[in-house]
């Protein structure tokens, strides 16, 4: 068996590529470190010098506003120099290969590459080719993984629920295409959540998803029953093409989160969403803006979690 490519010889986090295969201790270390940074973001001077003199390259081969911005803020609060590269509209269209792009940036003395790519596994390829002192943080690759999103989801859940060992978590919607769902599932099973459910139509469930340690529901009402945490996934408009779904309206009827359906979950259930939300498609505004929603705190926690990840990999 190959060594997990995200760990160095000492079993420490060299790159963050996927939550899958990370030991529980590393996940807890990241969450605890993020906890300590949560205070920083509340201070008047929102900076710590941990990454002073280091360069963080945001390499986005796929457009993103939110994730890129939170990585940028996180890196700046660690006092790093941040360079944003929107490669979806530069080198790639000029025919430069992925590894050539990375090699060129490496020659400019990068310390951390934050990579978003439309192809599953792209950050693994980059991690195999960077220099030993360089670190790769996956900011979302295809359908495969979005580990910092998964970690901020775990952070949010821990913040509101304290303990994973009694939780029922329901993840609803387009699991097939969701890197967010995959990362969160791996995180929850690693941290010992006893019941992780995925809810959606057969067309949006990947083959053999049970092997990830989840229970599959197709009836949302049954799936939401007594859930402590409800995670809604973004449904992209293009799913209406390709015969996966007939319409957004019909999807909302079966799998949209409304106050009525949410009432089936526990009274103190929290509602999460990785954003950006499609109101009226996967979530009703009354829920998105309602008392159970922790969607905006998720965004805030995301900065502390990304600070934690970057400071930990840079320190190893």
């Amino acid at each position: 068996m190959q060594r997990n490519p995200q760990l160095n010889e000492n079993g420490e986090l060299q790159h963050l590529l996927s939550i899958e295969g990370l030991p529980r201790e590393i996940l807890v270390q990241i969450l605890d470190t993020a906890e300590s940074f949560a205070g920083v973001t509340e201070r008047e001077v929102k900076k710590v010098p941990l990454l002073r003199g280091k360069s963080v390259f945001n390499l986005f081969f796929e457009p993103s506003t939110r994730t890129r911005t939170t990585f940028e803020i996180a890196a700046k609060r660690l006092s790093a120099d941040v360079i944003n590269l929107n490669i979806a509209v530069s080198s790639a269209t000029k025919g430069e290969s992925l590894l050539d792009t990375v090699a060129n940036l490496s020659a400019m003395h990068a310390d951390i590459f934050v990579v978003r790519h439309a192809s599953s596994g792209a950050p693994f390829l980059i991690a195999r080719h960077v220099k030993p002192h360089e670190h790769v943080v996956n900011a979302g690759d295809g359908r495969h993984a979005h580990p910092t999103q998964g970690l901020l989801d775990l952070f949010t859940i821990r913040h509101y629920k304290k303990d994973f060992s009694k939780l029922t978590v329901a993840i609803v919607g387009d699991v097939l295409h969701s890197r967010v769902a995959r990362s969160l599932i791996h995180g929850l099973t690693t941290l010992g959540a006893p019941e992780v459910r995925v809810i959606g139509p057969y067309t949006l469930m990947p083959a053999g998803v049970e092997a990830l340690g989840v229970r599959v529901f197709h009836d949302m009402k049954a799936g939401l029953k007594d859930a402590d945490v409800v995670v809604m996934l973004r449904l992209q408009n293009e799913r209406m093409r390709g015969a996966l779904l007939p319409s957004a309206q019909e999807f909302f009827k079966h799998y949209g989160l409304t106050s009525d359906k949410l009432a089936l979950a526990r009274k103190d259930a929290i509602v999460m969403h990785p954003g950006p939300m499609n109101r009226g498609v996967e979530i009703d505004s009354s829920v998105a803006d309602g008392p159970h929603s922790v969607i905006l705190p998720q965004v805030t926690f995301g900065i502390a979690v990304r600070m934690a990840v970057m400071s930990i990999v840079a320190g190893n």
């Binding site: 192809s119 295809g142 359908r143 990830l212």
Partner: protein, 419 residues
């Protein structure tokens, strides 16, 4: 010219003969007559067997010389003990005109390595619309007609192509994969693809296409060889089709009897193959079927890919693996795990593919072509990119310890490789 190979362990898989003996080659053909030889080879400690026959090896010419050249791949063939190979038509341009086939054959012949049997395109430019000039292509030397890995989605064209081929008794070699079900897919649709977030190709993409093809064989009685089976379901269908007496045969790629989707590991692009590596259960069924005869033979499906084609995220990486030089050791490894005799094992890469190809090679009978491989079945080696003669270094077996080293390869009585 008389060649005498002495002191070897002579194995003729076609007859099952296995024992110490001599082999004589007179004027390029196997002979029973001894007599004074011009050259004597001492094969002490070596197996002397018919040269290997590989039903699918891409030589990348014409048009794809940046991936590999005829010269590099013909060197790889004889280094692997392969003395006859069929090359699929997916060159650039595809082998859809007699002139191209003629040129390829002549260039291959001038290199004096393995025998090359071109497989012609079934449809013009492999586009699945118009039939090629099969008769003229056969005259130019095509042994069969195929779509390589290019899907033929239009079943009416497939039907017509089989009817036309049946008229003249041409063989049609086809991979089976429903183009719509396989659309955008790059891996077996199962829990590994789900974990890795890779678009899947369900196993029923293969069985549905195979069911269609078998119905068309029933209707047309065309002689069809089904290439590169990948699923347990397809194996059972082929078993039933043969029992029914349909004029069909089939093969499997050597990677698929050893590897499965678990071997993708962390997105190893060398495991990006067409068809995809499937579940452990599928792999075991393929391995078993190759042993019990439901699958007739095994091929390398040799596909040299340059580094640029593999240094990409898994789904974007070019499919295929280099295989000519690993066919023998990997087949020996398969035979050992199946507890088959060497003669039985070797038949899958000699006598059986010879039967499908319709050649008289692949056997040691008097009068057969003097094509031999001499190998040391005990010698082990570590697979390394540097040691491969093929220009393609793309194999999931890099670093593996394998047994079976070719010491000499002989084509038509000439020693074309010594290792």
């Amino acid at each position: 010219m008389r060649l005498h190979i002495k002191n070897g362990r002579v194995i003729d898989p076609a007859s099952g003969k296995d024992g110490a003996g001599d082999v004589f080659i007179v004027d390029g053909k196997i002979s029973n007559e001894g007599g004074k030889a011009d050259k004597v080879i001492d094969a002490k400690g070596l197996v002397v067997a018919p040269g290997l026959i590989d039903l699918s090896a891409r030589l990348r010419e014409p048009g794809l010389e940046y991936k590999a050249t005829l010269a590099s791949e013909m060197d790889a063939a004889v280094a692997g003990g392969v003395t006859s190979l069929a090359c699929p038509p997916d060159t650039d341009p595809p082998l859809d005109e007699p002139g191209l086939v003629d040129m390829l054959r002549r260039r291959a012949k001038s290199l004096e390595r393995a025998r090359v049997y071109p497989v012609g395109a079934l449809t013009v430019k492999l586009q699945g619309e118009a039939l090629t000039e099969m008769g003229l292509l056969a005259d130019a030397g095509c042994v069969a007609f195929s779509q390589a890995n290019v899907p033929l989605a239009d079943t009416q064209v497939l039907w017509r192509a089989l009817q036309y081929a049946a008229t003249f008794g041409f063989s049609v070699w086809l991979r089976v994969e429903d183009a719509w079900l396989a659309k955008n897919g790059v891996s077996h649709d199962g829990d590994v693809a789900t974990r890795l977030g890779l678009p899947g190709i369900p196993a029923f993409a293969e069985t549905i296409a195979l069911a269609t093809l078998l119905e068309l064989v029933r209707a047309t009685r065309a002689r069809v060889h089904v290439c590169r089976l990948s699923s347990a379901g397809a194996v059972e269908m082929m078993r039933a089709a043969k029992k029914e007496g349909l004029p069909v045969s089939c093969d499997v790629g050597i990677h698929h009897v050893h590897l499965c989707d678990r071997d993708l590991g962390y997105f190893d692009p060398n495991c990006r193959l067409e068809p995809p590596l499937r579940s452990p259960r599928d792999r075991d069924a393929l391995s078993q079927a190759l042993a019990d005869g439901a699958i007739d033979c095994v091929c390398s499906d040799h596909t040299p890919v340059d580094e640029d084609g593999k240094h990409l995220p898994f789904a974007e990486a070019e499919a295929g693996a280099t295989g000519l030089e690993l066919l023998l050791p990997l087949t020996l490894k398969w035979g050992a795990t199946r507890k088959l005799s060497l003669a039985q094992t070797l038949s899958r890469i000699t006598a059986e593919p010879a039967r499908i190809l319709g050649t008289s090679s692949g056997r040691l009978a008097a009068g057969a072509p003097g094509d031999l491989v001499l190998f040391d079945p005990q010698a082990s080696f570590r697979v390394s990119a540097e040691a491969l003669k093929s220009q393609g270094k793309n194999t999931p077996f890099i670093g593996y310890e394998l047994q079976g080293k070719v010491r000499a390869t002989i084509v038509a009585g000439n020693v074309v490789y010594e290792g």
